[in-house]
Amino acid sequence: MTRRVLLIALCAVAVLAGAAGAQAPSRLVVQAPTEPPGLDLTATPASATAGVVFNNIQEGLVKLDRHGKLAPSLAERWHTSDNRNYTFFLRRGVRFHTGRELKAADVKYVFDRAMNPETKHPYLRDYDAIGDIIVKDDYTITFALKALNANFLHNVARQGSVIYPREAVDALKSHPIGTGPFRFEEWVRGDRIVLVRNPEYHVKGLPKLDRVTFRFIADPNAVLAALKAGDVDASMFGLGPEHVQDVQKDARFQVIVGDTTNDVILAMNNSRKPYTDARVRQALTHGINKQDVLRGAMFGMGKILGSNVDPLNPYYVDMSRAVPFDPAAAKKLLAEAGYPNGFDTVLKVAPQYYYTVRSGEVIADNLKKVGVNVKIEQIEWGQWIARVFREADFDLTIIGHAEAWDIKNYANPKYYFRYDSAKFQDLFRKSEVTLDDKARRELFAQMQKLMAENAPVVWLFMHPNVVVAKKGLQGFWKDLPAPAYHVSEIGWAPPR
């Protein structure tokens, strides 16, 4: 009898130990390339801030899902009968990390604050269309728009529209509080940010991890070493494409390559000669072999673009072959524009983004063959922002624009590349107030066609989403329709 009891007890211990052993690790160390310049999404548009905070710590009323489609988030549904009044029905029982329940008054406070110029919200204009915000009850809120606005729901889904409790507003910059799957735990400046599971998260089964550490390592070589030494579990945007081939051969890792909204462009200063002439801009587009650029800068990863609408956008039209690589056509156009012998020009690039210099070198080589001598000038990021972006003091520059739906920049003649087309601006204005999907799609198609014809910039390629992770990790988003690192769905596969 005693022996049998002992045997049963031993079996029970073995089963329990087995169960404990089978439990997957619940911690994750993720490398991120850039440390956020503050953690307040209502104060900075930095994608480094969004990467950590957006949808991990703080969430909006609606969100973009994996496929870039609008989906419920803090609002379980929404309704509009006239496209002027949008009513959001909040989920019940959602709690901030402070323990207090989210109510409609919190939503009103957040949007009132965003619309107040004193707040210095980076996306103030996104809320221009809002006329009035009416709290119907604790869980129902209506936004009355001053005019039709086709982007309204997308603006509510943006990183700047996250909901936070009013009592936490002063601490947002260094200790963000929201309703997200993770709570902020600590920020060791210069090293890491640690998030811990929110046990009261309103989506059942999420998050899958107990603890996530974002470790900031900028140097791609250091990232590779940290991955190979096992010091980090995954890297997001950290490795250069030249390293990806190396880790692809390593059986310990998986490589996920997907799409993003980051369009890398060669911007031409449309207000400065010779780029005031559309023929010159078209000539440059014809003169650049984008396949060469993609191979040279990105080792072939990414997708070639022909307009500023990225493949994740529902209105994307493949314009990549609209202005093909054709050096003879480039020379002809340059001669017609009065530059039969080409001209000298300066390309200003900020090496902070590795692809800018690499793309620039390929482009300079391509354009030399059509008579355009490109001198590459490398400048520091702060100088790029001041001289190129704010003062438009440049001929050519290369940069990636990561924001979704940023076609609006082409309707702003003061934007740094100074594209000023009344026809385009008119089409864009119409698209802003056209709610019918078919009609709006048609307008977007027309805009993309016009952009390709006018060639205000040369759209080079879409920068890919490159995730390198240890095998056994699952739940990564392949495509990134918004600049966020969504870690709530990531977890370790149970050991076999």
């Binding site: 980076p122 390592i217 250091a222 922002i385 001041a386």
Partner: protein, 314 residues
């Protein structure tokens, strides 16, 4: 001695004043300001303008400088624009990384360079001397970031003895902290050691040619005693001078290696602050480093008196 110390303190104050004014102007004349950098390419121009106004960056430069100086004299170095914490606090949190890193690197530098330099000098124009010179030439020629990466490749990736980078703090234990700092300290000390080997060799060779060394040898004193008693101590003044200067350079080297090893130290703080135009942090770190270098020089001066009793500071 008291007058000497007073003179050095006055020199320190003057140095700090000029350094702070220089850094202030240098950062402000650089194109790009923190407001524009925070807003990046996605925030609107109006948002950046409003932020700049609220940061007080539109006021005249001299007004801003005098205000900063007034606060600094009261011990308030201001708030970091990027991190939203007091600059003094930020520097204090970075010191436990950079200070031990510099000390470890300096220890490695002296422990490797002085015996090797001494050996090379006492084996002048023999195989050991040539070998030491080749090794030091290699040390000088290999950039620090490269030697850092090679060390990571060998000791972290291949052997797995130490971690490849990052620092969890001293609270995680002295052992893990030292393991985090060991490789960067070696990489940092390697280059400086290579320089110090040559300085030591040259200083010892000079003294070995002195008459009193010949006299000591003529008296029948053993070579070991000649080197230890009559040569090395007399050669120490130039060695200490070079080593003192190198301590200052270790801080500059730390900027590169803290990036390679992803260490949250003062060097990386300064680099990030310059990129973000976080002026209060740049000012704070610069003043701290300048003070440290002045103090190191002061200690080196005092060491001269100890090494050579003929030197007195009156």
């Amino acid at each position: 001695m008291r007058r000497y110390v007073a003179r050095r303190v006055a020199a320190l104050a003057a140095t700090l004043f000029f350094v702070s004014a220089l850094v202030f102007v240098a950062i402000r004349v650089l194109p790009g300001d923190p407001a524009a950098l925070i807003m990046g390419t996605e925030g609107s121009r109006e948002a950046a303008d409003r932020l700049r106004e609220s940061m007080g960056l539109n006021r005249p430069l001299p007004v801003q400088y005098v205000e900063w100086l007034g606060r600094a004299l009261r011990g308030d170095l201001g708030h970091s624009i990027q991190y939203d914490v007091p600059v003094g606090e930020l520097i204090l949190t970075r010191l436990p990384v950079t200070l031990p890193l510099a000390l470890l690197a300096a220890t490695f530098m002296v422990a490797a360079a002085v015996p090797l330099g001494l050996y090379a000098a006492t084996h002048h124009r023999r195989a050991g001397d040539y070998l030491a010179m080749i090794v030091s030439q290699l040390g000088i020629s290999i950039p620090q970031f490269w030697s850092g990466l090679l060390l990571i490749l060998l000791f972290s990736v291949t052997l797995g003895w130490v971690r490849s980078g990052g620092f969890d703090g001293w609270s995680a234990g002295v052992g893990p902290a030292l393991r985090s700092l060991l490789l960067p300290a070696v990489a940092l000390g390697l280059f400086q050691a290579a320089v110090l080997v040559r300085a030591t060799r040259s200083a010892v060779l000079d003294v070995l040619r002195e008459d009193y060394v010949r006299t000591a040898r003529a008296k029948g004193m053993s070579e070991r005693l000649v080197v230890a008693k009559h040569t090395f101590r007399n050669a120490l003044i130039p060695i200490v001078t070079v080593a003192g200067l190198q301590l200052g350079q270790l801080v500059a080297g730390a900027i590169v290696l803290e990036s390679v090893f992803a260490l949250p130290g003062l060097g990386r703080l300064a680099l990030g602050a310059i990129s973000a135009r976080d002026l209060p942090v740049v000012q704070g770190v610069t003043l701290f480093v300048a003070s440290a270098i002045v103090v190191i020089n002061f200690v080196v001066d005092l060491a001269y008196g100890f090494l050579d009793p003929r030197i007195r500071y009156e």
